[in-house]
């Protein structure tokens, strides 16, 4: 009897303490089902989304760990309480469309400045197609997801716009290049052909000056000299025209900026009443020295021309996101606003002599290098020409990359 009861008691203890062991041995099939259910239980318990089971009065009948964290209290306090009373009125259960078995909404909640976004799914439980009023609420914190989406959407829009601008720019460039090629061919032919008549005029003038009686008379000789000078002038116009319409082939190499500038300055005469301040750093840029020197010369000459009564030309350099920026600032007469846009056009000049190709060609050269040229000016105060040469990557690509980096930092 004692042995029998001991066995019974032992079995009972074993059963209650290790409630899986005995049943497992006694009944294998139902054990498997139980195992499955327990697995599900633990999944539900441990999952990151909060689950709340409610009855028809919106009272909490069950909840998982995430839900408890959301409430910040123990399950014992929560069970049986209405969700509104638990501070979860923001779930707005009644706003759900109860005609569907499952529906979801997005809700924002939290302290101002620390708001989180949630996706709330409401599942209703029906028995035999009759609503029981029992519901399950699944609450997911989608803040990070939402922010990431917003970030990428913004990036995408931004990049789209950038691409659009790029396409526009490239199309313009292509059209310009095509037009230039057509003009170039035409100009080349015209220019070359004009040189024949010029030769004839020049030859005739030579004869008149040196081999005919006309050369003896001083006034006639002056006239013939005038003809000669104008032949020169015409020829120069032709040269400029051919130059401008020629395709620019760059022969790039690492060039010392300071050296190049020095070369340019030493090759022209600096007017007596003009002071030149060269404040350029020791930089190397990947450019065609010959062409860039011409650009510098052109800008410097313009500066000198703008200061007929003396002044100062200051040349500085600095590195920026766009590349290496060179500024040429003069204290000259300045450029009136009305003609600011016109100065870049070919054949535009405010001077009596010269065709006015200078700035147009300069801009072309600089842009061919992938750079930019701009001007700022105030009448009576002076003018600043800025030339930017890209360093390394095409500056536009670099700028986009940096933008992406910055925004990414902010999202975190």
């Amino acid at each position: 009897m004692v042995i029998f009861s001991t066995i019974i008691i032992t079995l009972a203890i074993v059963y209650f303490k290790h409630d899986t062991a005995l049943p497992a041995a006694l009944c294998p099939r139902s054990h498997k089902i139980e195992q499955k259910m327990e697995l599900r239980e633990s999944i539900i318990e441990e999952m990151s989304s909060a689950i709340l089971l409610l009855d028809e009065e919106n009272r909490v009948t069950d909840l998982n760990r995430a839900a408890m964290n959301l409430l910040g209290s123990k399950s014992s306090d929560v069970l049986g309480m209405e969700i509104d009373a638990l501070g979860l009125e923001w779930l707005e259960v009644d706003e759900f469309d109860s005609s569907h078995a499952a529906s979801s909404r997005e809700v924002k909640h939290g302290e101002v400045g620390h708001e989180r976004e949630y996706e709330i799914e409401l599942l209703t439980y029906d028995e035999d197609e009759v609503s029981t009023g029992y519901k399950a609420l699944i609450i997911r914190d989608i803040t990070v997801y939402k922010r990431a989406m917003a970030y990428w959407e913004a990036q995408y829009k931004r990049y789209s716009r950038y691409l659009e601008r790029l396409v526009e720019q490239r199309t313009r460039q292509l059209r310009d290049a095509e037009r230039m090629a057509a003009i170039g061919e035409l100009a080349s032919m015209v220019g070359h052909d004009i040189r024949n008549p010029l030769t004839a005029i020049s030859g005739a003038t030579y004869f008149l000056k040196n081999k005919s009686g006309l050369g003896a008379d001083e006034r006639s000789r002056e006239m013939l000299d005038l003809i000669d000078d104008n032949i020169e002038e015409s020829n120069k116009i032709v040269s400029d025209l051919l130059e401008y319409s020629r395709d620019i082939q760059l022969d790039r190499s690492a060039t010392n900026l300071l050296g190049l500038l020095g070369d340019a300055l030493s090759s022209i005469e600096i007017p007596e009443d003009v002071m030149v301040v060269n404040d350029v750093g020791e930089e190397y840029i990947d450019v065609d020295g010959q062409y860039v020197k011409r650009v510098f010369l052109n800008i410097i000459r313009n500066a000198f021309d703008a200061m007929p009564h003396g002044g100062t030309l200051t040349i500085t350099s600095r590195k920026s996101i766009r590349g290496l920026e060179l500024s040429f600032n003069d204290t000259g007469v300045g450029i009136p606003e009305e003609i600011m846009d016109d100065i870049w056009r070919p054949l535009f000049t405010t001077k009596p002599k010269g065709m006015g190709f200078g700035l147009a060609i300069c801009k072309r050269i600089v842009e061919r290098h992938g750079g930019e040229m701009a001007v700022e000016s105030r009448v009576g105060e002076g003018t600043t020409f800025t030339v930017v040469f890209p360093l390394g990557l095409d500056f536009q690509d670099e700028r986009v990359l940096l933008d992406v980096e910055e925004t990414f930092q902010k999202v975190k």
Binding site: N196, A200, Y206, F207
Partner: protein, 191 residues
């Protein structure tokens, strides 16, 4: 050869038949020069522009050159085959061909003739190409007559030097051969 009076008289008639006689500015000068074996340099001007041909002709004839004109590459080739010129002025763009195309044929038919290319393209490439294909010099349009005259003088001077040098070479060569022959004669004499 015995120079009898007939010979001298004959020589003074021939200039009248010589084509260059008609081109020469001073017939008297021409005759004298011809008699003593000197002739003015002959230049062929090849350009399809009428005014330029005229201008070059007038200005060059003033300097004493004998000028002949050609309008096209074809005409130029024909003329070069029939006559000898000291120098040719070739415009780079002719109606029927590029001036540079003529250079090769000229090199074949008249290797001594100096060839100057006249071009309106100041590119280095063109210059190098012209010189590579056999031009002796080039001048840019619009052409300044004084520069043209300088270049022509330079080329003719070179030509004269080359001629003298080759004449010298030739006479020295002949001298050497004659000496050789003399030595051989000496050698065989005793036999």
């Amino acid at each position: 050869m015995d120079k009898g009076w007939f010979h001298i008289f004959f020589k003074s008639i021939i200039p009248l038949l010589h084509s260059n006689y008609y081109h020469a500015k001073s017939k008297w000068q021409f005759t004298i020069k011809w008699v003593i074996g000197m002739t003015d340099p002959k230049i062929l001007v090849i350009d399809d522009d009428k005014s330029i041909r005229k201008i070059f002709r007038i200005n060059l004839e003033e300097e004493g050159y004998i000028i002949d004109l050609a309008e096209s590459g074809e005409e130029a080739l024909r003329k070069v085959e029939n006559q000898r010129y000291n120098l040719a002025l070739i415009d780079i763009k002719l109606g029927d061909m590029e001036g540079t195309d003529l250079l090769e044929s000229f090199q074949e038919k008249a290797p001594q003739m100096k060839k100057i290319i006249v071009t309106g393209f100041p590119s280095l490439q063109n210059a190098i190409q012209a010189l590579n294909r056999g031009a002796d010099a080039y001048i840019l349009k619009p052409v300044k007559i004084d520069q043209l005259l300088e270049i022509i003088e330079e080329q003719l001077r070179k030509q004269q030097e080359e001629k003298e040098f080759s004449e010298e070479k030739m006479s020295r060569f002949i001298e050497d051969r004659v000496n050789e022959l003399e030595t051989i004669k000496e050698y065989y004499k005793p036999i």
